[in-house]
Every structure is written in C-alpha cells, then in structure tokens.
C-alpha cells in the first residue's frame, strides 16, 4: 500500500534521511522505532509532502506521492497524527473534528464519522464545545487521533502518540490504536517507546541516524542493542 523507496531527505544542506526504504501493506500495523533525532518525524513529513525528498520516491497505492501537493495527501487517504497530540487549541473540540473532514470525500460523511468518533472516544463528545486548549494531554492525543480519522483515511500515521503521557494513559491509547487496526485500518506507528510499540506491531523497522538498520518482529529485533536496552529498561 505504502512503498517508500530509497529516499534521501534533509533540511537546507543537512541530510537527515539516508536511503530510507520500507513498506506498509494493507491492514498491517507497522512500527517505525528509533531514538530521538533518528529521523522518524522527518520520514512522516516526507510522506505527507511537507518535506520533499532530494531523491527517491514514495508510492501510495501505486501513485507517486512526491508529485502530489501537500494539502492533497489527505484526499488520497493518508492521515497523520502530529507529534505531541498537536491540535488547534483555539478551536473547540467539535471544530477540530469538523476540520478533520476537510477533504471532499470525508466532508460528505462528516455527520456519520463524527458519531463513530464519539463512540470510539466518548470523552470527546462530553467536551465537544470546550476549547481544545483546555483538554488534558491524554484527551488531546485522543482528539488528534479522532481528527485524523475524520478524514476516513486508508492509512493512519501516528507520530509518538505515547509521548509525555503517564503509563496508564499510554496503555489506553495503545489499546485504542489496536482497536482501530483490528477494525481494518492500516497503521504506521512511529515510536520511541520501543516496548509498547513492538508489542502492538505486526512488523517493525528500526531507524537510527537516518538509516533503516533492521526490520522484523519483536524477537527478531532483539539483536539490536538499541532495542534490547529499551527492553531491559
């Protein structure tokens, strides 16, 4: 479904990603794990069209994403939950969700998707007229996920959804992600929280210093020092 092929990406003259390739198949939950500064967010931005690769290509359902303007990526069926549960804090919860359905195909089904989101995250319905800035960290993360789902994506990408959350909340968010995946959503999960990500994912890629250094199931990846130390604590 998503094929990232040999992309090199950077900021100004600083190269961040080096020959990065990976793929996500329909229905999979794939994790991209790596330490801080490895290039995980940059990878997601390249897929969204916010950062153009210097070379290499990204295909989504056979279409070359590098030729698609950034704001059209959502229309093709890719949604991204930005780092740190970034939401529009000055807008209400409901307004955030409504805007999530900005892409034309999603706007037609807005009312129905909204109902689904309230079922998935009942807390959001209770808070729908509240400004998103007044939500707690966990609620914001849920809003960010729900807003992404409002676009009725085929591929959901999450950038460190566990970041800054208490362990109990992390469990709850990850349970939701699993639930969403089991309902048929293809997911690319970016995480530093290696243990939680590996438990959830069907397959994982390890990224370090801008390079993909390994791929496999959690057992297979235990040979990586970075993964092992994360497991052992």
């Amino acid at each position: 479904m998503l094929n990232v092929e040999h992309i090199n990406v950077g900021y100004k003259d600083l190269q961040v990603l080096w020959d990065v390739s990976f793929q996500v198949n329909q229905g999979e939950l794939v994790a991209l794990i790596g330490p801080n500064g490895a290039g995980k967010t940059t990878t997601l931005k390249a897929i969204m069209g916010l950062r153009r690769p210097w070379s290499g290509t990204i295909y989504f359902e056979g279409q070359n994403l590098c030729k698609v303007p950034a704001h059209k990526t959502a229309e093709l069926g890719i949604a991204m939950v930005p780092e740190g549960g970034r939401v529009f804090t000055g807008l209400t919860v409901l307004e955030n969700l409504e805007l999530g359905a900005f892409a034309p195909h999603a706007r037609k089904h807005m009312a129905q998707t909204l109902e689904e989101m309230y079922q998935l995250f009942p807390r959001l319905e209770e808070r729908k007229f509240q400004r998103a800035g007044t939500l707690s960290g966990g609620e914001r993360q849920m809003l960010a996920i729900a807003r992404a789902l409002m676009s009725r994506p085929k591929l959901l990408m999450l950038d460190e959804p566990s970041f800054g959350l208490a362990p109990l909340l992390v469990d709850r968010i990850f349970a939701k992600i699993k639930e969403i995946n089991q309902a048929g959503m293809t997911i690319l999960l970016v995480e530093q929280n290696v243990r939680a990500a590996l438990e959830l994912a069907h397959r994982s890629y390890v990224i370090q210093n801008g390079r993909i250094v390994g791929m496999g199931t959690s057992e297979e990846l235990l040979s990586f020092e970075f993964v092992r130390s994360a497991y052992l604590g």
């Binding site: 969204m48 916010l50 303007p69 950034a70 704001h71 059209k72 990526t73 959502a74 229309e75 949604a79 991204m80 930005p82 970034r86 939401v87 529009f88 804090t89 000055g90 807008l91 307004e95 409504e98 805007l99 999530g100 900005f102 892409a103 807003r147 992404a148 676009s151």
Partner: protein
C-alpha cells in the same frame, strides 16, 4: 459648548467607523498571512476613485457602487497577491514582515504616482443630492451619508466576524492561523487561505475608500495617512479580535475629534501616534487582544 463637544464626539465616531473598517481589513491580512501590507492605504484610495469615477462618469449612486469598488479591489488583491506577496509565503515570520513591507512600499509608491498621473493631485469628493442632508437630534447633526456609511462598516465587520466564527472555511482560516503545517496535514490549501484573507482585506479597504469618497474627500496621496491610521487602530484593538479592532477605530476617531476640539486640528494626527505609544507601553497585546502564550 457641551453641544459642540457632543457634536465632535459624534463626528469622531462616524469617521472612526471607517477607520475601524479599514483597519479590520489590514488586521485580517496581517493576522492570517503575517504580511504587513503598507500599501493598504493605497488600496483604500483606489476604492475611493472607483466610486468617484463611477459616479462622475456614469452617475452610479455611491452606495450602489460599493460592491463594484469591492470587486475592483478583489481583482487588484488577487493580482498583487499572486504576482508579489505570494513569493514570501515560505519565508520565516520576521523575514516575511520585512520583505512584505518593502513590497508594500514599492506598491504604494507606484499606485500613488499612477493615481496622480491619471487623475491629478486634486481633492475629489462625491456630491449627491442627499450629501448635505442630515438628521438632527437634540441639536446634534447626524449627516445621513456618514451615518449610513457607519452602518455599512459595522455590518461588514460583523459579517466578517461571523464568517470566521461560524462558516467552515472561516474555521479553516482560524486553523491555518494557529498552525499552517497541521492545517496542511488535514488537507487545507493554506495558499488559498492566504489568498482569501488578502483579498478580503483588499475588498474592505476598497469599500472603506468608497465610503470616504462620499462622506469626506479623496486624493492620490491619502494612502500613507490611512495606512498609519490602520496600524494605530490595529495596535489599539489588538490582533485576533475583529470587533476589538473596530472599536479601536471608534476610539481613535473620538480621540482625534476631541484633540481637535481641545487644542486645534493641527494635533489630530499626533494623538494617534501618542495612543499608539501608550498602548504599546502599557498593553502591548492591544486593548482587546489576548496575550500570547
């Protein structure tokens, strides 16, 4: 004495409404795009001439021609944005403000000189059959033209505020203001948002100019003074508050009128700058603005 004072306040409010209308346009553009368009006053001047010539050549009533003045400025806005201002979109904020100021100065010089060549440096004003009529209430005069202008200004400002608060595209504009990257991720074409904001700002300037040409007078060199007025009002009202900016316009109008009344007309301009400095020192987020962070 008291009557003269009240009369001055009334005139101040009536003019202040046009300050407010023009400043709301500039403030919207700055708030959304971070373009400081110092040619805003010249756009206002152009709107005034559109109305003036439509009236003089084709006898179109100035209130009927308001939409045409707006439309003309929509076209000018689209051209200016696409040709010049859009090139700065990718810059960081500080560089953007600086570059757009330079562009704005260039545009304002060109428009001002062009207007002088084409239409001479004479003061112009639209005189209709009802221009001299006014309502009188307790010996206070309310010139009909200026009262209607104020109502038009108020309605437009409220309409814009409602558009931003309630319409889907208005919400998209607010989202883009908060975080353009996040907005792009969910599929908002931020270039289009910037264009729309810029064009609405230009149209507001156009309508304000047209109203100035009926109730007051226009001249090719009026732009700079109006840009300064808008900047002062924008600072008074505070960014991000449409209604606050409009009220800021009323305050400046009254302050100018009172100054003229108390110490003479020559000090009208000074009071604006004085207010500007005081507000910057005491309440930099503006009277109605929200503190950042």
């Amino acid at each position: 004495m008291v009557e003269t004072l009240v009369q001055n306040i009334v005139f101040g409010l009536l003019l202040g409404a046009l300050y407010g209308l023009a400043a709301v346009g500039l403030s919207l553009v700055f708030g959304v795009t971070k373009f400081l368009n110092v040619a805003h006053g010249e756009l206002l001047m152009l709107g005034g001439y559109v109305s003036f010539w439509l009236f003089n050549l084709y006898h179109v009533d100035p209130f009927v021609s308001l939409p045409l003045a707006a439309l003309a400025l929509v076209v000018v806005g689209i051209v200016l944005y696409s040709l010049l201002f859009s090139r700065t979109v990718k810059m960081d904020e500080e560089q953007k403000v600086q570059t757009t100021m330079l562009i704005g100065f260039g545009v304002s010089l060109i428009l001002q000189n062009l207007a002088q060549r084409l239409w001479t440096a004479d003061d112009r004003s639209i005189t209709t059959a009802y221009s001299r009529m006014s309502w009188t209430l307790f010996d206070i005069r309310f010139p009909i033209v200026r009262v209607v202008s104020m109502v038009v200004a108020l309605l437009l400002v409220i309409a814009l505020q409602q558009f931003l608060q309630r319409s889907y595209f208005g919400k998209a504009i607010r989202a883009t203001v908060e975080d353009w990257e996040e907005a792009t991720i969910i599929g908002i074409d931020t270039h289009r948002v910037y264009l729309v904001a810029f064009v609405i700002g230009a149209a507001f300037a156009g309508v304000a100019g047209a109203l100035v040409s009926v109730g007051y007078s226009i001249v090719p060199s009026m732009g700079l003074e109006w840009t300064l007025v808008c900047l002062v009002v924008m600072t008074l009202g505070g960014l991000g508050s449409i209604i606050g900016t409009f009220v800021g316009g009323l305050i400046l109008g009254v302050a100018q009128a009172l100054t003229a009344f108390a110490v003479g007309g020559a000090y009208r301009q000074v009071v604006g700058l004085l207010l500007f400095l005081v507000v910057l020192a005491v309440r930099p987020q503006g009277l109605f603005g929200v503190k950042e962070g």
